[in-house]
Symmetry: C2
Subunit: 341 residues, 2 copies
DNA sequence: CTGAAAGCGCTTACAG
DNA sequence: CTGAAAGCGCTTACAG
């Protein structure tokens, strides 16, 4: 490339000042007189000068980058619209700051820690967003241990009071959804969740159980079904539920794609929703709206989660803040699958 | 953070060699004897040394970062599954290299050029991936002008032979799809496209026209409908088509979400697909598979486009390569909407 | 208000 | 095969 970028020194020479002065003009240091400031700025424009971010970083000990750690690509979880949506929020909010975004490129599960270490020890980022958390999360432990600025999207399994995170109140969302199903007449409610190591799964199970208890329904172990975030899980458990001797008349599903799979099975078997069984799900994806039977789903506002995480992180980078929690409201979007009027 | 990272000098002191030698060990310079190499490596591990990427960049004139320029967040186009999918491919392929990914954070349309300039002139990236192109694209012109390494996902409007890009053969895809509709008996085929400034729109229109010509059908201007990539466009044109005096019996739509909107309108009006009108679309999204009437759609393989773009870019950064084109195969996924057996 | 000098943590010709 | 020195392009205490 024919760039031949100009340096600070070039500007200094042209303006007849020292490099220190030019540097101070860039930093908009108030000690520099308006007069020289103007002259220098003019010279910068004249030769098309642009500060070298790398050199600034080295001298500054500040990179201007935020690292985003996503679950790895192969992972089915990446296919979940949650991540693109949250990322969209992250990008959006970052555009209001002077940070750039550095994306993790971990290809394998379990590689997250290595990536985090590389970014931090190589001084490539000033802060980190963790886009998922699990039980005994080694990334969280590491970041916490070295006291590096980071924000978790979701909730940590332990040390909640010490870790900065942005999340929905998943416990309450599941509680409310379960309660709602009971209110519209469901007596026996099954629950299909994700990986039990995921904190979000745990929280929703808790809410589900609490609602059952509050509404004087018995919790039954065989109505608690755990699987992955894909359609297959829906097929499998849809079948299982349909074949239960005393079939449930209510169902909570932790993800729309799974719920969609369940509905397909039910449709094939002639099971009517919501008449025979009411259904509530999570994520409010395009599928929940456009399914042959549009179904009730909890909008978790992933875009907002992303935005808020960056907003918090920029503060965390500046001051040290610990254990800050930002709760993003959810909303139960009621549709045909729970409409028993 | 309590980091206090160790430096090259620390390692050198401990190993009893000069910093130059340690540096050469890091670079795995063959001139260093195996013996010292081993000793130095041991010392690095002992004190937990990790090279500072920023300092390396400054000395090296190499950042190890690739910049990704996406359409801006607000843009409806970002909601299209194409971008997350392509990004997934980009992430995946990058994980096999030693590059990191720097994401553009442009919030407004038209800000792309400023972002590109900032990344390049601030020396934050070694190369750039452009995720969309339009007519008179100023980013392309700038990058080309300063001869900065970049790869375009999609095709440029002009100077095709001079710009490295990765794309489907959209002209042929539209050609084949149109021809297929004619072969299953469609006589009059309408086309719903996207923004006419987008190169992909132009290419598909060309293919559509060529197929009509080859199959001795007349091209009619009022059957060529252009809009945005959203459901509303589908509603609007679905209605329009339904109300044409001599309604078309075939329809090509440039995006699944739009096609989905059209189908909804048709369903509401009692228009039968594929009996009354056959439909073929693009992107093979989850909607095309799960729509009440699953519809034929062209799989463009966005994941592969992403992967190939990184693959090409890493080569472009090393040698100078110009006007290289990599074509990613598409595949027409035939479903009920064109099944007239 | 401005400048000379040292430093950020590396790399790399040059010399031996 | 290894080292001393200069340099990458900035910033910032220190001095004036």
């Amino acid at each position: 490339m024919k760039g031949n970028s100009k340096t600070l020194a070039d500007v200094a020479k042209l303006a007849g000042v020292s490099p220190s002065t030019v540097s101070r003009v860039i930093a908009d240091n108030p000690k520099i007189s308006e007069k020289t400031k103007k002259r220098v700025v003019k010279c910068m424009e004249e030769i098309g000068y642009y500060p070298n971010a790398i050199a600034q970083s080295l001298a500054n000990k500040r990179t201007g980058n935020i690292g985003i750690i996503m679950p790895h690509t192969e992972d089915e979880i990446f296919l979940n619209p949650f991540f693109p949506e949250a990322l969209r929020g992250i990008v959006k909010e970052t555009s209001n700051t002077d940070y750039d975004l550095l994306l993790s490129t971990n290809a394998k599960t379990g590689e997250e820690l290595a990536i985090v270490k590389k970014l931090i020890r190589g001084s490539k980022v000033d802060g980190i967003i963790l886009m998922s958390s699990k039980q005994d999360d080694e990334c969280i432990n590491y970041l916490k241990d070295i006291e590096f600025p980071f924000v978790l999207i979701g909730s940590p399994y332990e040390m909640e009071g010490e870790i900065n995170h942005v999340d929905n109140d998943n416990e309450n969302a599941a509680y409310e959804l379960t309660k709602y199903l009971i209110e519209i007449g469901s007596e026996k409610i099954a629950f299909i969740g994700g990986d039990e190591k995921l904190v979000v799964t745990k929280k929703r199970i808790e809410g589900y159980k609490r609602a059952l208890k509050d509404m004087d329904k018995e919790f039954k172990d065989d109505l608690l079904l755990l699987g992955s975030f894909n359609e297959k899980t829906g097929f499998k458990y849809g079948d299982k539920i349909a074949n239960m001797s005393d079939m449930p008349d209510g169902l909570i599903v932790t993800d729309d794609l799974v719920a969609f799979g369940v509905l397909k099975v039910f449709e094939g078997l002639g099971i009517k929703v919501p008449e025979d069984i009411a259904l509530g799900s999570f994520n409010n994806s395009i599928l929940s709206q456009h399914s042959p039977i549009p179904f009730t789903s909890v909008e978790i506002n992933a875009f907002e989660l992303g935005k808020k995480s960056i907003n918090l992180l920029t503060k965390v980078i500046e001051k040290d803040i610990h254990g800050q929690l930002i709760t993003v409201p959810y909303k139960i979007m009621k549709r045909d699958s729970t409409d028993r009027r």
